[in-house]
């Protein structure tokens, strides 16, 4: 049977992610022979016994690199799907959880949870505060945009930028009043990355991201309608206000959980859907499916690039995605203006 174009793209991206995951396991500051990596993975899956691999390598593979590679995949999928959904929801190809202030709000929520000591005393307080921060930020953007009468794409975007800046200012403020030795810990929320994360973080972020992305997938027809404009969506019977609110909750959940384990990684939600729209079209169902694997592969690839550069420049993952994302934003802006004129 001949597969559809989007199915082929999705399969290719899945294979790409799997390949990158293996690469990320064997390659790093301490390089591990691929044969050792395979042996460890096969042993771990219960196929045969093997004790020839040094314990340190086993630890690196199973407790550091594998969970980090999987976590990056999860975060990439969450951000890319949130970006695609927000673009459709607000009928704006420039929307992204970072640009719309969702990530900023989530960072602020997380930093406040750490600073207040809530994160140390209450289990799950950190991711909950991150999700709540993300949701409040997007709700604020939504309310501010819509209270002023008929909303427009640029108003929404600029409101998002303003709310995002306020959140970042909030994060900076918390950092300023924090004792010097803890600043390093908080800096993570501004630049993003997964350097110290473990299986626990994967278990923490997995369920909310799965719920958020799964929910968005269920709403795919509503997303298709919303990207044609509010009037068209209303015309075919979609309760637009409630649907938008639901989509904000789901994206805040996914983005908040992603931010809780990886800090503020920007622009993934802009770049991945933009590239994939070109490959598989703008129907939300295939687009979201491809965003899951595409976002995962993209973020892991960025991490590998950042890993290869870090020895010389110390280029964090979040900084790298922003470096790539800025020019993408400008390109999309240019194309959007061309189409309108």
């Amino acid at each position: 049977m001949r597969l559809s174009r989007s199915a082929r793209v999705a399969l290719l991206l899945t294979a790409g992610y799997a390949g990158l995951l293996l690469l990320s396991v064997v390659w790093g500051t301490a390089s591990i022979p691929p044969a050792h990596a395979f042996k460890v993975l096969i042993t771990e899956m219960g196929w045969g016994e093997n004790h020839s691999v040094p314990e340190l390598q086993r630890f690196l593979i199973l407790q550091v690199r594998l969970p980090q590679g999987l976590l990056l995949g999860l975060v990439g999928a969450a951000l890319a799907c949130s970006g695609a959904a927000l673009q459709a929801t607000f009928e704006n190809p420039l929307a992204d959880p970072g640009i719309l202030g969702v990530s900023g709000g989530a960072s602020l929520g997380a930093v406040l949870a750490i600073h207040s000591g809530l994160a140390d005393s209450l289990f799950l307080a950190l991711p909950l505060c991150a999700c709540l921060g993300g949701f409040l930020a997007s709700l604020l953007v939504y309310a501010l945009t819509y209270l002023g009468g008929r909303p427009s794409g640029p108003t929404l975007l600029l409101t998002g930028v303003a709310v995002g800046s306020m959140s970042v200012a909030g994060v900076s403020l918390v950092m300023v009043v924090t004792e010097v030795h803890r600043v390093q810990e908080l800096l993570f929320w501004l630049v993003g990355g997964v350097r110290n994360q473990t299986w626990d973080h994967l278990a923490l972020a997995g369920p909310p991201i799965a719920f958020g992305v799964g929910g968005l997938l269920l709403l795919h027809r509503r997303l298709d309608a919303l990207q044609l404009g509010e009037e068209q969506a209303l015309a075919i019977g979609i309760p637009v206000v409630w649907t938008r609110l639901w989509i904000l909750v789901l994206t805040a959940l996914a983005t908040g959980a992603a931010t809780a384990v990886s800090g503020g990684i920007g622009f993934v939600g802009l770049m991945v859907p933009q590239i994939l729209r070109r490959l598989v079209g703008s129907r939300s169902q295939p687009l979201l499916v491809c965003c899951i694997t595409g976002g995962a592969a993209f973020l892991l690839a960025c991490e590998l690039i950042s890993r290869s550069l870090t020895e010389r420049f110390s280029l964090h993952l979040g900084i790298l995605t922003s470096l790539l994302g800025g020019p993408t934003f400008l390109l999309v802006l240019r194309k959007t203006r061309e189409r309108r004129s």
């Binding site: 044609l228 404009g229 068209q232």
Partner: protein, 264 residues
């Protein structure tokens, strides 16, 4: 298709930001009737159509869809009965023609949104009716304004609703496509569809619509067969143009003296 319930509006008034867009408009659309909505720019045509389609609730007054008050019905229930065609047909994204038309099936889909053969057949039928079946795989951005307008009309037809509320469906069409559209609307009304379409071309109203409604500055100022509405005093006051009975289309247009325009 289910049979059309009568659509009844009583004393509709709509205000936005202190501006009165509609002022005490009452009308009823009988099942299977076909009516043209005329009026100068800013007269409230779009507002009236949006209210009738239940897109926005009126500030005052009530709309009945059969027995039910429309503000008590859910969006999806309304959409199964009323297909509303908005004026705007552009998109910042670039969907395929058939994907846009497929969205018309939304109110009939189950919770999981799975499509049946019936859905696909109806989409193909709608594309066929507007003459766009050969273009179904094209992307919206590659179409002309008139073709895009027909894509969204097909979306409304795919909705399988017995009441069609069309906001300027003919504006971007050339004369040939306009006449095709009017023939299509006439056929649909013979099948039992209730149709209300706002128009700018008075000749189309005269040729194809047995009933004409005239809005002027938010008020319904005339309602009747086009022969009388087009020659009536309210139309002259609304547009600042006097029409005369004559040859050709039966009516010829006469430019107003400047004084008439200045009074408006």
């Amino acid at each position: 298709m289910t049979t059309a319930p009568p659509l009844l509006a009583t004393h509709l008034t709509h205000r936005v930001d202190g501006q009165t867009l509609l002022d005490d408009v009452s009308l009823s659309l009988a099942p299977g009737s076909i009516s043209a909505l005329l009026g100068p720019n800013g007269a409230g045509k779009t507002t009236l159509i949006r209210l009738l389609a239940g897109i926005a609730p009126p500030t005052e007054g009530e709309i009945f869809l059969g027995e039910n008050r429309i503000r008590q019905l859910s969006r999806v229930v309304i959409a199964r009965t009323c297909a509303y065609l908005p004026q705007r047909t552009d998109s910042r994204f670039d969907p395929k023609v058939e994907d846009v038309v497929l969205l018309g099936r939304y109110p009939h889909l189950g919770r999981l949104g799975t499509l049946t053969k019936n859905d696909l057949d109806r989409v193909a039928w709608a594309l066929e009716r507007v003459g766009l079946f050969p273009l179904r795989h094209r992307h919206l951005a590659t179409l002309s304004g008139g073709e895009r307008q027909r894509v969204f009309l097909a979306r409304a037809l795919a909705q399988e609703a017995p009441i069609l509320l069309l906001d300027e469906p003919a504006t971007a069409l050339d004369i040939g496509r306009q006449i095709e559209l009017m023939t299509l609307l006439t056929e649909l009304s013979q099948d039992g569809h209730t149709i209300l379409a706002s128009l700018h071309d008075l000749r189309l109203a005269l040729e194809f619509f047995p009933r004409t409604l005239l809005l002027d500055r938010g008020k319904l100022v005339d309602d009747g067969p086009p022969e009388s509405v087009l020659l009536g005093q309210p139309l002259e006051a609304a547009f600042g143009v006097r029409l005369q009975a004559g040859q050709g289309y039966g009516i010829s247009c006469v430019a107003p003296p400047w004084g008439v325009q200045n009074q408006r």
